[in-house]
Amino acid sequence: MLRVEHLTKIYPNGTQALKDVSFQVEDGEFLAVIGLSGSGKSTLLRCINRLIDPTSGKIIWNDVDITALPASQMRSVRRQIGMIFQQFNLVKRSSVMTNTLSGRLGYVSPYQSLFNYFSAADQKRAIENLEQLGLADKAHVRADSLSGGQQQRVGIARALMQEPKLVLADEPVASLDPVLAHSILKHLEWMNKERKITVLCSLHFLDLVHRYATHAIALKDGQLVFQGLPKEIDDAQFKAIYGQEAERVSIV
């Protein structure tokens, strides 16, 4: 279970990205985080694995206060939390296999991994994950020779290598075509249902939220403005989250 309590983040330049955000995620949920660009979604997700240090507030995961952990112990927490990025964040010149295996870095000895050495078990696991995502034949090509949808699937494979209990997905489909968006989200749904991984996913389109998420929260200007089930987001809620001028658009 993940509990976020009174989370606040103020950047050094004075921008207040999160204001006193509190919510709770049960194991096995697929939680959609919605809100406009700049509403604090990315900051929230990055606070959870401490890529960004929150200014105040607590993040408690399985009874451990992540915000209070020293850097040395963050490594073992981070390896249980996978992350998927809008821009995929692959090392473009490295192969798909190396990119996938890099998800295992939290488990292996730092010195062995410097020489690109990974155990046979890890390599087998990487191939299995790539097969699962339909990329087995691409294992030895350079990451930048793949299409955007394929690159994002490598990103998912990298996260799966961590054998995570929680996955943070930061706008995973915002850089992709609508058709590919569904394919990527189906993979996330599969992780959530079959592998019992809790998923926190920030999304732009409301109908994707209705289709895939089990729960939803909404941020506006860094504040939590909604918490509940996706179907509870009615027109009034929608206007509250996205502003009065917003129109509902749908995605195929």
Binding site: M74, F85, V91, S102, G103, G155
Partner: protein
């Protein structure tokens, strides 16, 4: 993947083929590019070893030659193993096949460049003495009362006011200012940039394929123009200086001409490439309206090219400023002439003062030019609805025009520009032009030229390697995104950046004097001087490459729970190795050009041959051969380095 049914190419036959002729087996296995590469590498190494043995008996004695042949033998064995494994569809490592020839080349380079690391230590007391001069430049002195004041040397460099007469300029009475050598250098840089831009613009249209292909016979002009520009560009400003001096005599004017000639060719190439990259849409549209060639250029081409032409002109100003600091070595004029004179007197503290002055001025020009270019490039994409006010209504524009004109007139006089001199060349000049183009191909001359040319290339290679290796650790300290936020690391950042900037603002040839004194003259001194400039130039490029990496992968790898070391190995190294190699090759290309002139200051290589053996004794036919060799090598390096870097991306 081919199945094994198509395999039965005979592995044994392939191995035997490769043993007899390296690469032949790979060729037989239908891997043509690999076979060719192996063959060319083996042949080149063999020829080089043979050449070194023939030319450098002393250096190659004591088993060096045997070791080299043994290494080549290992390479041939590797090539046989390689073809055998490939015939059996097994993986074969490229690493050994790459390392062995590299080792051969570096050993030969080390021997022929006469690398003597022991001298760095045995003659260290000389280094201390010259270091003492460098940090105590002759710029200020104490008078009897103990107050600090500019020394006489300060006046030579920066100029003096007075001492007595005032002049009447219009309504103003102004003290007389005698320009110093550094001011003269600034004048040289600016005037040559101005002249070369004016000349390069029309030439660039003649060298642009998309324009010339519209004219009858234009393609022929295009090829002629491109070849001409490439040849002129391959010859360094200082070599042009040697020739120009015979035309207009020693002095600043010769410097301006030498700078202008080289700069026209360099700008002409950049400009014409810019013309070739313009959007063809508007040209098509205007041609469709029935506009002729000149109208098309005026309305469809010029509006597209103005920003990039301006940016390239500013870049050239920076480069010309650097060249202007050394053109005085041969042509007279500018601070280079002053440096030569103080070195002749043995006044190293005056020389040091000149170095500091050059560093300051070049750094300022470098900064201003970069800032302006940045603004132009921003402005080029700036979409503003307003039309600018016509310039004649703006007071500021008039102010700039008046100041610009005054500076132009002053610099014109300072550069002693005298167009009549162009029509009145020295009597030997005609002989020079005639002899220059009838190359002397006597074996003794070609041997000497080939020998010195190869030394020059090796000098550049070793200097690039040394400078780059030294720069790598420093470049991490000078990368903004990696340095921490603590006060100490910010200090280190600025110190490293400052070190790069000071060192790269001084041309290699100016450093030769230091190493001349330290390790005595020759190829080793030239190599070390090149390495110092390389350190500054490549350190800056490397640290910028590190700053330009995509932070995304780093973030993603940190998020998996990786350690900092792992994050660097997986997130940063794969991103910086290709640009580092690419910059290294680029720098080698630049260093070959610079190495052709370090000999003018006693740094060895082909410049030494030109400056000491051929030009002083009017052996212009031999000089022509040497310059032709430079043109060939520089052109090949330029082409090869561009091709390799293209493939690296």
């Amino acid at each position: 993947m081919k199945t094994s049914s198509s395999l039965p190419r005979n592995a044994l036959l392939a191995s035997v083929l490769s043993l007899v002729v390296p690469g032949a087996g790979q060729f037989y296995l239908r891997d043509r590019s690999r076979g060719t590469a192996i063959f060319v590498t083996a042949l080149a190494c063999g020829v080089l070893i043979y050449w070194a043995q023939d030319n450098f008996r002393a250096a190659m004695a004591g088993g060096t030659a045997i070791a080299l042949w043994a290494l080549l033998g290992c390479f041939v064995i590797w090539n046989v193993v390689d073809v055998y494994r490939r015939a059996h569809r097994q993986a074969s490592s490229n690493l050994i096949g790459f390392l062995l020839p590299t080792l051969v080349i570096y050993i030969i380079g080390w021997q022929v460049t006469d690398i003597r690391p022991d001298r760095l230590i045995t003659r260290f007391s000389y280094a201390l003495k010259i270091w003492n001069d460098v940090i105590h430049p002759d710029l200020f002195m104490q008078d009897v009362a103990g107050t600090w004041m500019p020394s006489e040397n300060f006046g030579y460099i920066f100029g003096t006011i007075g001492p007595e007469v005032m002049t009447q300029v219009g309504p103003f009475r102004l003290p007389v200012y005698h320009a110093g050598k550094i001011v003269e250098t600034i004048a040289l840089g600016l005037m040559s940039t101005l002249f070369s831009t004016i000349m390069a613009v029309p030439l660039s249209f003649l060298a642009a394929h998309n324009i010339m292909s519209r004219v009858r016979g234009g393609t022929l002009i295009y090829y002629a123009m491109r070849t001409f520009l490439n040849i002129v560009r391959a010859i360094d400003t200082l070599i042009w200086g040697l020739i120009v001096v015979l035309w207009v005599g020693l002095g600043s004017f010769a410097g301006v001409i030498a700078l202008t000639i080289h700069s026209v060719a360099a700008l002409g190439k950049l400009f014409s490439e810019e013309v070739e990259h313009i959007d063809p849409g508007p040209i098509e549209a205007l041609t469709a309206t029935g506009a002729n060639l000149v109208q098309t250029i005026r309305y469809a081409v010029i509006p597209q090219i103005v920003p990039s032409f301006l940016a390239y002109t500013l870049l050239r100003w920076d480069i010309n400023m650097r060249s202007a600091t050394i053109v005085g070595f041969v042509a007279g004029g500018g601070i280079g002439f002053f440096v030569v004179e103080s070195l002749r007197k043995g006044a190293y503290n005056q020389y040091a003062a000149a170095l500091w002055a050059i560093a300051v001025v070049v750094m300022i020009v470098d900064y201003v030019s970069a800032k302006w270019r940045e603004r132009i490039m921003l402005g080029a994409t700036n979409v503003s609805g307003e039309l600018p006010r016509p310039f004649y209504k703006s007071l500021r524009a008039w102010f700039y025009i008046i100041v610009g004109t005054a500076v132009f007139i002053y610099f014109w006089e300072l550069c002693e520009i005298n167009l009549k001199d162009l029509l009145n060349p020295a009597p030997t000049f005609g002989q020079l032009v005639r002899s220059f183009l009838s190359f002397n191909l006597d074996p003794e001359v070609t041997d000497a030229v080939v020998r010195q040319m190869l030394i020059t290339i090796f000098q550049a290679l070793l200097a690039t390697t040394l400078g780059a290796l030294a720069a790598i650790p420093f470049s991490f300290l000078a990368a903004r995104n990696l340095t921490g936020r603590s006060r100490l690391s910010i200090w280190i950042y600025y110190l490293t950046r400052g070190l790069f900037n000071v060192l790269r603002s001084i041309e290699a040839i100016l450093y030769v004097a230091i190493f001349f004194y330290w390790v005595s003259f020759g190829n080793f001194a030239g190599m070390l001087a090149l390495a110092v400039t390389t350190f500054g130039l490549i350190g800056k490029l490397f640290s910028e490459a590190i700053e330009n990496i995509d932070p995304g992968p780093l973030e993603a790898i940190m998020a998996t729970g990786a350690t900092r070391l792992q994050a660097i190995a997986y997130g940063i190294l794969p991103q910086i190795i290709p640009p580092f190699i690419s910059y290294g090759i680029y720098q080698w290309d630049i260093n070959v050009r610079m190495a052709t002139i370090v000999g003018f200051a006693g740094g060895g290589g082909i410049g030494w041959l030109l400056y000491n053996d051929y030009f002083p004794f009017m052996k212009y036919r031999s000089a022509g051969t040497a310059v032709a060799a430079i043109v060939i090598v520089v052109t090949i390096m330029d082409f090869a380095s561009a091709k390799i870097r293209e493939r690296m991306v």
